[in-house]
């Protein structure tokens, strides 16, 4: 097959073409290798004793009855554990907010782990955990973030002095002037309810200590930057004494699979007891004590605009409840700064992020790292502006979009958007859904007495995950690189292996690396093997966070492959005694231009590199391997004093259009039609991009309509199972049409942008806008996710003043 016969989009050979993934066959055969599948000889199992109180002093722990059970090996409490390990790291400057896997002296949320029981089987460990007697003295607690800031409120960490973790008011541009001079203003509060990504696999970790080697082996279902370093530090081990096996398949993550506290606990137990130890969360443990809840946020939004629809300024105050402890979660208020004005030309922005602790389960990174809630607030504002002006919502968006001629475009908070064509993507989505027909369908439904609404959202997906919010939110942290790497090797047989330094949780990295290496070397990706190194023989990686791997790992893999290609050409030039410019590389073979008979084939070149040093050019290493470590494009900068910084490098765009119907008698919302226009630049594997986008939309449907970690007034998690935390099934998620558009990024190897958070970043906003459009004829609105049937029914009932009956 030659390129000319089957031209791929954009002139690529493999990129962008329909290709099966490398990962799927092992999964459909039931041959995945997840952390819970790891079984080591003599392995023991952990069960946890959890606090029933949101806040209490631990008076005593009696474990005699548990110990007496045959098969029980150990009961570990915070007393021993906190003395023997160090606190986990925190993203902001709050050194007194210490955090360990087991509570010591006090508990700070219902579900917090108080003791760990180790036994021969998981069932025995659970039996024994029930026999551990803990006496508590209940203490005052606070579960509402605004009240947690009031003086006299119970303190989650008294040593810290308040419940406030982080607060800063950023002002970028002439905000007050714009508010004074604009024709109109609106103001509203939106509430993003506490939900999360809730993967179907809970967190699992197995660890084994090798005393002779002083080495801890770890198999864990992780997606976390700097994971081995943090685990080693907390365990007071050198970094090279912890070996994390990245070849573990992770059963979904979408941000939350951090499990650092679980790993430090299990690592400690494995070393302390001298036996392999495994912990698998059960579902309740995952939901209440797994520390993986998502943002829980109030937005107070103000906007200033003219009667023609031009938006001049916005003020956003975001109050986020991170729960009882903080790792990176306060930083989820920082990432949205990189797209704080959405796709719009808004010249002045005030943003006040406030991170607050309460006696609830801690928050972890969730898909989009705070961007989806922020997009929800921005897009609700745009709809409210249109409504205030009596203008069409599409027209207001078009009028304020950054035009394609204006890229690269720098927003007030300091990030430069790389490229885009927002008008074209929205137009494509409108055409795909047949917008005039959609309006008729809504109006017909309304005429028939139903509540129906159309929702639109136009949002950005910042991608290429950098960590610029770290120095922005913590001046003591000068991290300015978030590199990723790849090693490419050609063996003596001429076959290609790509080696990556992190685990995957469904993103198809093996396929992606093989595709780009194949593209550069013009070799069939089907024959390229991609493996996950362990942390001791891996090049640096910052893991698949922030929609970064197509850009960062893809860029690193391409960079390594290009070095290989250059080496092959250099070998040929030396053997033909010519300049490299006189040579032509085609499908791995190198020929003298204009003299095809003078060719060294791939096999011959590989043979020279591996065996025939006498035919190698001076200065070239024998063997054939290359590493490439790539810094994030546009990375490397520190924030300005007023808090401007380039956040992520690339900006994908999505336009969602949705038709929702609400049953006026039950308040149940049903999605009738869904189209998403999507531009993430060049797609490396379209099936993977489309799959992640549909999955993101489904996740967004859940956040908008169903999913909530609800708390009772006495501080108990009320939705700790799938009976009450509702994840949308194939019956709730409709058929979704995705319309592609391609505006290449000028910053990346092939023009690709990220797409791992696609769909989720705009779906809740679009559905929220649709629900409100449906409620508009009743004169009521809802600014709170999830928009559950009861909340909608209450508003419908209030509007009708007739107990909901028609």
């Amino acid at each position: 097959m030659t390129m000319a016969e089957h031209p791929a989009p954009g002139g690529f050979r493999y990129i962008g073409t329909k290709r099966r993934t490398k990962e799927d066959p092992r999964f459909v055969a039931g041959r995945g290798r997840y952390a819970a599948d790891i079984a080591l000889p003599g392995m023991k199992h952990v069960a946890l004793v959890a606090s029933p109180y949101p806040s209490a002093r631990i008076v005593s722990i009696r474990a005699e009855a548990a110990f007496a059970l045959p098969g029980v090996r150990y009961v570990l409490t915070g007393e021993e554990f906190c003395a023997a390990t160090d606190s986990l790291t925190i993203g902001v400057d709050a050194p007194k907010v210490t955090r360990y896997a087991l509570a010591k002296d006090v508990v700070r949320y219902a579900g917090e782990w108080v003791a760990a029981v180790v036994a021969d089987t998981r069932a025995l460990a659970e039996d024994a955990a029930e026999l551990v007697e803990v006496d508590y003295e209940p203490l005052p607690y606070i579960i509402e973030a605004e009240r947690a800031l009031e003086s006299g409120s119970p303190l989650v960490h008294p040593a810290h002095g308040s419940n406030l973790l982080y607060r800063r008011r950023f002002v970028w541009g002439p905000v007050e002037k714009a508010f004074a001079e604009s024709d109109r203003r609106i103001e509203f509060r939106a509430k993003w309810g506490r939900s999360s990504t809730v993967p179907i696999e809970t967190f699992a970790v197995a660890a084994q200590w090798h005393p002779a080697e002083q080495l801890l082996d770890v198999w864990a279902s992780i997606q976390m930057p700097k994971f081995p370093d943090q685990a080693a530090r907390a365990l007071r081990l050198p970094g090279n004494a912890v070996r994390v096996h990245y070849d573990v398949d992770v059963g979904g993550s979408y941000g939350v699979k951090r499990g650092i506290k679980h790993t430090v606990l299990v690592g400690y137990l494995a070393r302390r007891l001298g036996v392999p130890v495994r912990l698998i969360e059960d579902r309740l443990e995952n939901m209440r004590g797994g520390d993986m809840h998502g943002p829980d946020r109030y937005f107070d939004v103000q906007a200033a605009f003219d009667t023609d629809g031009t938006i001049h300024a916005m003020k956003i105050r975001a109050l986020d409840d991170v729960g009882a402890y903080a790792g990176r979660s306060p930083l989820q208020l920082g990432k949205p700064i990189g797209a704080i004005c959405g796709p719009y030309r808004i010249a002045a922005i005030e943003y006040e992020p406030i991170s607050v602790m309460t006696h609830k389960t801690p928050q972890e990174a969730v898909r989009g790292f705070g961007q989806s809630p922020t997009n929800f607030a921005i897009e609700r504002a745009v709809d409210r502006i249109a409504r205030a002006l009596g203008m069409d919502r599409i027209e207001v968006r078009r009028r304020n979009f950054i035009d394609k001629s204006q890229f690269p475009y720098t927003i007030p908070s300091g990030s430069t958007y790389d490229s885009g064509d927002y008008h074209a993507v929205l137009d494509k989505a409108l055409a795909a859904i047949d917008y005039p027909a959609l309006v008729r369908e809504r109006d017909d439904a309304r005429a028939a007495g139903k509540l129906a609404g159309i929702g639109i959202s136009t949002c950005l997906e910042p991608s290429g995950g950098n960590t610029a919010f770290e120095p922005l939110f913590n001046p003591k942290n000068e991290t300015t690189t978030w590199m990723d790497s790849c090693l490419v090797r050609i063996d003596l047989s001429g076959s290609i292996t790509g080696i990556m330094g992190t685990s995957s949780s469904g993103q198809g990295h093996e396929t992606m690396v093989a595709t780009v290496v194949g593209e550069v070397l013009e070799r069939d990706p089907a024959g390229i093997r991609v493996i996950h190194a362990d942390s001791l023989n891996a090049l640096p990686s910052n893991s698949p966070v922030g929609s970064r791997m197509a850009i960062m790992l893809g860029g690193a893999a391409a960079g390594a492959a290009k070095k290989i290609k250059q080496a092959l050409i250099a070998i040929a030039a030396h053997n033909f005694e010519c300049a490299v410019e006189d040579l032509e590389y085609r499908e791995g073979n190198v020929s003298l231009k204009g003299a095809p008979s003078k060719t060294l084939t791939w096999d011959q070149l590989v043979e020279i590199a591996h065996r025939k040093f006498h035919r190698m050019p001076a200065g070239l290493e024998p063997g054939l391997q290359a590493k490439f470590v790539w810094e994030v494009p546009t990375g490397g900068g520190l924030p300005t004093p007023d808090g401007r910084i380039q956040m992520y490098p690339c900006y994908a765009f999505e336009a969602h259009i949705v038709l929702v119907e609400i049953d006026p008698d039950t308040g149940k919302a049903v999605i009738r039609k869904y189209v998403c226009g999507h531009d993430c630049g060049v797609m490396i594997n379209p099936d993977i991009v489309h799959g992640m986008t549909c999955g993101g939309i489904a996740h967004g449907i859940g956040a908008a309509l169903y999913e909530k970690f609800a708390y009772t007034e006495d501080g108990q998690l009320a939705s700790g199972t799938f009976m009450d935390y509702l994840i949308p099934s194939a019956m709730e998620v409709p058929a979704i049409a995705i319309v592609d558009h391609c505006t290449p990024s000028p910053l990346t190897t092939f023009g690709q942008k990220g797409s791992g958070e696609a769909g989720y970043l705009g779906a809740p906003a679009a559905i929220g806008n649709a629900v409100n459009d449906a409620l508009e004829p009743l004169g009521v609105s809802i600014e709170e996710t999830p928009m559950k049937p009861f909340a909608l029914w209450e508003r419908i009932r209030a509007a009708r003043g007739d107990n909901g009956k028609r």
Partner: protein, 163 residues
């Protein structure tokens, strides 16, 4: 507290398997921990997510809600048993690869079992019937679209193969 053990004998993926199990051992734990058939996954352990689905006498069933002793004398097919006798992927499994009907792979074994159950009962399902059949299996990666596409594709291929 030593537990009384009960003998069971179960046909698993066409092979006669026997063991001694405690009464409280769930079927999924027996399959995974004793037989080391780790393709069947545990997601919620309370019967909602469907990741642990297996064929039980030819019908999809949640193996987290059944005790191993209850399987005594019955016939079970796990995801490892869906392949053709020569070990190659079945039409349904291959269709999942063709449409990329999975990402992390964790719900996939249960999805395959649910889809297998549907196709055995209904050779030509509509999209609505497919959605209903997999409606008890939660997937967090795909939004279900490419799974629905895969089951449809498998139905088409199987009917073409049958002609």
């Amino acid at each position: 507290m030593s537990e009384k053990l009960h003998p069971i004998s179960v046909e698993v993926n066409g092979v006669a398997c026997s063991g001694m199990v405690s009464a409280r051992l769930s079927l999924v734990d027996w399959l995974r921990e004793e037989l080391r058939l780790t393709g069947t996954h545990v997601g919620c352990e309370h019967g909602i997510c469907g990741a642990c689905s297996v064929m039980f006498d030819g019908e999809p069933l949640r193996s987290c809600l059944v005790f191993a002793v209850q399987a005594n004398g019955h016939r079970i097919t796990t995801v490892e048993g869906l392949a053709r006798p020569d070990g190659s992927l079945s039409v349904l499994q291959d269709s999942f690869c063709q449409t990329h009907a999975l990402q992390c792979g964790y719900c996939t074994p249960g999805m395959l079992i649910a889809a297998q159950g549907l196709l055995e009962a209904n050779a030509d399902p509509t999209e609505a019937q497919i959605r209903e059949a997999i409606g008890g299996n939660l997937c967090r990666c795909t939004g279900y679209q490419q799974i629905v596409d895969a089951v449809r594709l498998a139905a088409t291929r199987l009917s073409e193969g049958a002609k």
